[in-house]
């Protein structure tokens, strides 16, 4: 089946929501729950915005009253100044209410941003590692940072704007109806037309917005590919080709964007035109002239329609024009909600403690994609205090298997037991006191060397730290750094691959866990440090239950047990001599390995012989030493 390849590209969002749906009823920090916390502020802001909206109508009505008063043959000063005073008061009220509403809603937005980001960080810390690596740090960053920011309109504006858009025209319409209900109806005729247009627009937009998102996604990956792969394409003289992929993605995005938005924009432009100030002025002028000439109303009563008629429509327009922001805010909220609903690895309800440090895998079947298992029915035992080596061709599932011990993922079937207890029944905090891990690419936080070491054991003394640093031969290097142990990794402590590797071994030494997993711990060592790394490892494994993955078979011939993994199944296990004698997969891997290492010495010897140089002896010594060790 072609689906069996685990290709973690562009996983459909439902894959994650599907996983998130299971066993996560008690999730306290859903998107809804978090928004509820800031709701009082948003509601207060909306109420204030509503007041501001109503106050903004007062000057319009005042113009009418002023016109009435001034039209009198002998205008009454008192009335005129009262109207002026009320107008100014209304302006002040509007200014204050509006300001308070904006402050409140923006404060609510900031509260929510922090809450959301914190909750998401907390989720990330408990989500299955497989899910994290499938998503990728870049996309998760974008949700945590950009999407939360994009929700701004939804949180800070949507409700207050809506309240204003409804309450202000309603109040204006009521006032106008008292002046003349027939002309009011004429003025309002535009709104239904606009709403119909708006609905059409939203329907069209909603159905096709996904296409834009997808095209943007393609553009983003084309950019990443273009930029990160540029060294490769330039080296192969293929710049034009990669560039054209990027250009094509950009064009495709713009075309999709244009195809979706152009018709929407047409409808929007026309329906906005219907409610535009010029159109409203025209309707009032025409309607008013007809009404006055027919004697249905006094001429002065046209004035409030000229003023408030405009007030009827502008908030409606404001909401309509915000449609884009609202849509992208909703999509962003969807992604945030999705991240928040990821099911964490379940914590045991009644944690148990392991008895001893014997590790056992019982009938373990596991795949990052449940339909495509990487490990099939694996049974193995790591006896307490022994070294077990895991070998096999690349792609056999070695790292995946090792990752099950520290619970990077849980198996779909079977159990991983530590000291007779299922690791799922051990509290996370306790599990890590028993199982340590040295990975092939050592990762550090941008924090001081000491803090990075203390990650594993927060209460380690300075003497403890100095001890482990010396044990991995880094004491001189660290002492030479500008701030010694307080130098920040990635800033003033720039470590080579081998140094980073040794530091991660130092971390494991400090953590001092009885069970240890070493995944290709020497793979990235530099030539000058490999020997030191090796010595550090030898110290590290003493007295522990160890699972070691190594490419170089020579390094693990002394292991108590060698387990041979092939295509996710254990095909052989035993001691080195027995496996070599058995003549199976291990024996053939061993033969290849030996040929390869001998070839190095052999080729050197031949070359040296050709050149009849007296380096020959030294060379032979080197070779003998090597073979002597590997056998």
């Amino acid at each position: 089946m072609p689906e069996q390849t685990a290709v973690p590209t562009g996983a459909p969002p439902d894959a994650a929501t599907g996983a998130g749906g299971s066993g996560d009823d008690a999730a306290p920090r859903t998107l809804g729950g978090l928004t509820a916390a800031v709701r009082p502020k948003v509601i207060a802001a909306s109420v204030l915005a509503g007041f501001a909206g109503l106050a903004s109508l007062v000057p319009f009505a005042a113009v009418y009253l002023l016109a009435v008063a001034l039209s009198e043959a002998e205008p009454d000063r008192g009335t005129v100044w009262t109207v002026v005073a009320v107008t100014i008061a209304a302006v002040v009220v509007r200014f204050l209410c509006h300001g308070a509403a904006v402050s409140l809603s923006h404060a609510a937005d900031m509260d929510l941003q922090l809450r959301l980001r914190r909750s998401m960080a907390e989720r990330l810390a408990r989500a299955p590692l497989g899910w994290l690596s499938e998503r990728g740090a870049g996309r998760l960053k974008s949700t945590l940072q950009d999407d939360v920011e994009d929700m701004h309109y939804l949180v800070a504006h949507a409700l207050p704007d809506f309240v204003v858009a409804v309450s202000t025209p309603l109040a204006a319409a009521v006032y106008l109806a008292f002046v003349d209900w027939r002309l009011t109806l004429v003025c309002l005729a535009g709104i239904p037309c606009y709403l119909v247009g708006y609905r059409v627009m939203m329907r069209v937009a909603g159905a096709r917005m996904g296409a834009i998102g997808a095209a943007m996604g393609r553009l983003n990956s084309a950019v990443v590919e273009f930029v990160q792969g540029i060294a490769v394409v330039k080296a192969f003289g293929q710049t034009q080709r990669a560039h054209s992929r990027f250009a094509a993605a950009a064009d495709d995005y713009l075309e999709t964007f244009s195809a979706v938005n152009r018709p929407i924009l047409r409808v929007q432009s026309v329906s906005t035109g219907i409610l535009s100030p010029a159109a409203t002025l025209l309707v009032v002028a025409l309607g008013g002239t007809v009404f006055v000439s027919q004697g249905w109303m006094p001429a002065i009563d046209v004035v409030p329609f000229l003023t408030l008629g405009l007030g009827l429509t502008s908030p409606v327009l404001a909401v309509g024009l915000a449609g884009n922001s609202l849509r992208s805010a909703r999509q962003a909220a969807g992604r945030v909600g999705e991240l928040l609903s990821v099911a964490p690895l379940p914590e045991p309800a009644e944690p148990k403690s392991p008895r001893g440090h014997r590790v056992e895998l019982r009938g373990v079947t596991f795949g990052y994609d449940a339909d495509a298992p990487v490990l099939h029915d694996v049974n193995m035992v790591l006896e307490e205090g022994t070294v077990t080596a895991l070998v096999g061709p690349s792609g056999a599932g070695k790292s995946t298997l090792a990752g099950l011990l520290p619970r990077f993922a849980d198996p779909q079937r079977g159990q991983v037991l530590l000291g007779g207890t299922d690791v799922r029944d051990i509290a996370a905090g306790e599990l890590y006191r028993h199982i340590g891990f040295v990975l092939q690419d050592a990762r550090f936080l941008r924090a001081s060397v000491a803090d990075n070491l203390r990650l594993a054991s927060p209460h380690a003394t300075d003497a403890d730290i100095a001890g482990v640093i010396r044990a991995v031969g880094l004491h001189e290097r660290i002492a030479a750094l500008p701030r010694g142990l307080d130098s920040v990794i990635g800033e003033d402590a720039l470590l080579s691959g081998g140094e980073a590797q040794r530091l991660s071994i130092a971390r494991a030494l400090l953590a001092d866990t009885p069970v240890l997993v070493l995944d290709e711990a020497t793979a990235y060592a530099d030539p000058e440090s490999e020997a030191v790394v090796q010595r550090a490892l030898s110290r590290l494994v003493a007295g522990r239950t160890v699972l070691v993955i190594a490419h170089r078979l020579g390094s693990i011939v002394g292991a108590d047990t060698i387990v041979v993994l092939d295509e996710g199944r254990i095909v052989e296990q035993g001691r080195h001599e027995a496996l070599v004698a058995a003549g199976g997969l291990y024996a053939s891997m061993w033969r290849t390995y030996q040929r390869h290492t001998e070839a190095a010495g052999g080729r050197a010897a031949i070359r040296a012989g050709d050149e009849r140089h007296d380096g020959l002896d030294g060379q032979r010594d080197g070779r003998n030493e090597q073979i002597g060790v590997t056998r």
């Binding site: 590209t9 113009v63 990330l124 080296a235 035109g273 001429a299 044990a471 110290r539």
Partner: protein
């Protein structure tokens, strides 16, 4: 800002943008005229002259229609110009970046460029499509009315116009107060971004050490800082925005008062007063709304500046008159000095080497000694600061960039694969290659073994950046790509470091077969690769410490001999607990 926009988008767009601006201006003026027409309509209506209204109402109808048409035209034009500008920007950035030297592409640049395409260009688009119109209308329409009003009643016009300079000054001040707060927000956001990425990537370590909480503390403090910067920005913006809105409202109040005074004096017509008051009240909102537009304007301006900065990066100079084509595939470095930054410690400090045609050279040395840089200046990732790099006797700076790359096949330490099938990734080495040639190259690099194992075989997608394959598998695919290109010079930088012994042995055979046929330069620390080289160059702190064959160097008993002993010992190492060392034994 418009000037910057022209500059970034190029002259082709200038005309279209000019048309858009003209139509937008027309729309704003027409809208103002519609407001002004209220005066004659209302004057006749209030005078009881309903018949006299009709011609003016007709004029209003015409202007309203023209306004609607102008609005529609300006919306569609803005949309088109915005799209065309995005198109131009994407292509200009793409064209420009392709011409930049390989050395330009640091991790930081890559991140910045990604950000530009996904957020910067849309911000510029939104500036053109959504921001120009409200901005222009908020200024031009009231201005039109004020000018027209000057003919009807100069006192009212003056009262209105007096507010304008005050508003402008307040606006400028308001904008300037937030600039610094903006910068703090950007910095805090960048820090938080980085912490999120770090937090996700370090999850395996954090969990395996049970230190998720402490790891999160770093992210938490970055989030707090971001939050605080955001609040500081709000606080910094508040006075400016408040003052601006207050000034707008004050202007409204002033006009109302002046209107009342003039009205009471009986020296102004009610129609004029009403029309002007309607206008003033009506436009106080969009004008004060300009304060809210400030943020979007600023980010659009920043995006333009960032795009401009990328476009300002200079590509390596192309030779004005190309030198003679390289005579063969020999390489020479003549007293080469190179530093990544002017004034920084030189990474190559006076390196002179001759690598004859079709020989194999191994480069060894401690990390940081300049091995990778050496390989990269050979292929002109950067130009050297002093000295020269020659290919077949011709200075690489005298060979056009495309022609130069034809001579090199490169395999990097950090392999990048494209999100395409394995076959397509291999074929990238030579797009014209037949299937048989692709398969042969794949066989030589042991990619056939990967293909056989995968259900979709050759057509298996490798994922973004090749993430669906393991490190060793990616290296094999990239080797196959380089073998397929089959250029005269092959540069290998730790190209087999992630391979398991079985594959490494097979690939070693392939490389052995190439020796004597191609010029090979290999950075490696595995003995198997180094020993067979025609010549070994030992680098130390950017200088050549030793050079010679394996046997010569071993005999000399210097740096290389030491390296060899260390390596031999390391290779024979076996993992055995070391109880002799007094590390406190586990319980």
């Amino acid at each position: 800002m418009i000037r910057q926009l022209f500059h970034v988008a190029g002259p082709a767009l200038r005309r279209r943008l000019a048309v858009q601006l003209a139509v937008l201006l027309g729309y704003s003026v027409l809208q103002g005229v519609a407001f002004v027409l209220v005066v004659p309509v209302l004057r006749r209506l209030l005078a009881g002259d309903t018949d006299g209204v009709w011609p003016w109402a007709g004029a209003l109808a015409g202007v309203a229609l023209a306004t609607a048409v102008a609005y529609y035209a300006q919306q569609m034009l803005a949309f088109q110009v915005a799209l065309a500008a995005s198109h131009r920007l994407y292509h200009r950035i793409g064209d420009h970046v392709s011409a930049l030297p390989l050395g330009w592409f640091s991790g930081e640049q890559v991140g910045r460029l990604g950000q530009l395409a996904s957020r910067g260009v849309p911000q510029v688009r939104s500036l053109l499509a959504h921001l120009l119109q409200p901005l222009c209308t908020a200024v031009v329409t009231p201005l039109t009315v004020v000018v027209a009003m000057a003919f009807l009643d100069w006192r009212l016009a003056l009262a209105t116009a007096l507010g304008a300079p005050l508003m402008y000054l307040t606006y400028r001040w308001a904008v300037s107060t937030v600039a610094r707060a903006d910068e703090a927000v950007d910095t805090a956001a960048a820090e938080a971004n980085e912490r999120v990425v770090e937090f996700v990537r370090a999850q395996s370590v954090l969990r395996s050490t049970g230190s998720g909480e402490r790891g999160r503390a770093l992210l938490e403090s970055a989030l707090r800082e971001q939050d605080a910067a955001g609040r500081r920005q709000s606080a910094a913006m508040a006075p400016g925005r408040t003052a601006f809105i207050a000034v707008v409202h004050l202007a409204v109040a002033a006009v109302v008062v002046v209107g009342a005074v003039l009205g009471l004096g009986g020296t102004v017509g009610v129609a004029e007063l009403v029309a002007l008051l309607v206008l003033v009240v009506r436009f106080s909102e969009p004008v004060s709304g300009m304060a809210e537009l400030g943020g979007s304007l600023r980010s659009a301006r920043n995006a333009l500046a960032r795009i401009d900065a990328v476009l300002a990066a200079r590509p390596l100079p192309e030779p004005a008159r190309p030198g003679p084509p390289p005579a063969d595939a020999s390489l020479e470095l003549r007293d080469v000095r190179f530093a990544y930054e002017p004034g920084a410690r030189p990474v190559l400090d006076g390196v002179s080497l001759r690598l004859p045609d079709r020989t194999t050279t191994a480069v060894v040395g401690p990390s940081g000694s300049g091995k990778t840089t050496l390989i990269r200046v050979l292929a002109r990732f950067w130009d050297v600061d002093e000295g020269a790099v020659l290919l077949g006797g011709t200075d690489v700076r005298d060979i056009p960039a495309d022609a130069l790359m034809d001579h090199f096949s490169l395999v990097f330490q950090d392999v990048y694969l494209f999100d395409a099938s394995i076959r397509e990734n291999v074929r990238l080495g030579r797009p014209g290659a037949t299937d048989a040639e692709v398969e042969e190259a794949a066989r030589l690099a042991r990619v056939d073994e990967i293909v056989a194992r995968l259900p979709q075989g050759w057509d298996t997608p490798v994922g973004e950046g090749g993430t669906a394959l393991s490190g060793g598998e990616r290296q094999r695919v990239s080797l196959a790509r380089a073998l397929l290109k089959d250029a005269p010079v092959m540069l290998l930088d730790e190209a087999t470091s992630s391979l398991d012994p079985a594959n490494e042995a097979a690939i070693q055979q392939t490389l052995d077969a190439l020796s004597g046929r191609r010029t090979l330069v290999v950075v490696a620390h595995r003995l198997q690769t180094v020993v067979g080289a025609d010549r070994i160059v030992v680098l130390e702190e950017g200088r050549v410490a030793e050079t010679g064959t394996h046997a010569e160097l071993l005999a000399r008993g210097g740096r290389y001999a030491e390296f060899w002993r260390e390596r031999s010992r390391a290779q024979g190492w076996r993992l055995t607990p070391e109880p002799s060392v007094p590390v406190e034994a586990a319980p």
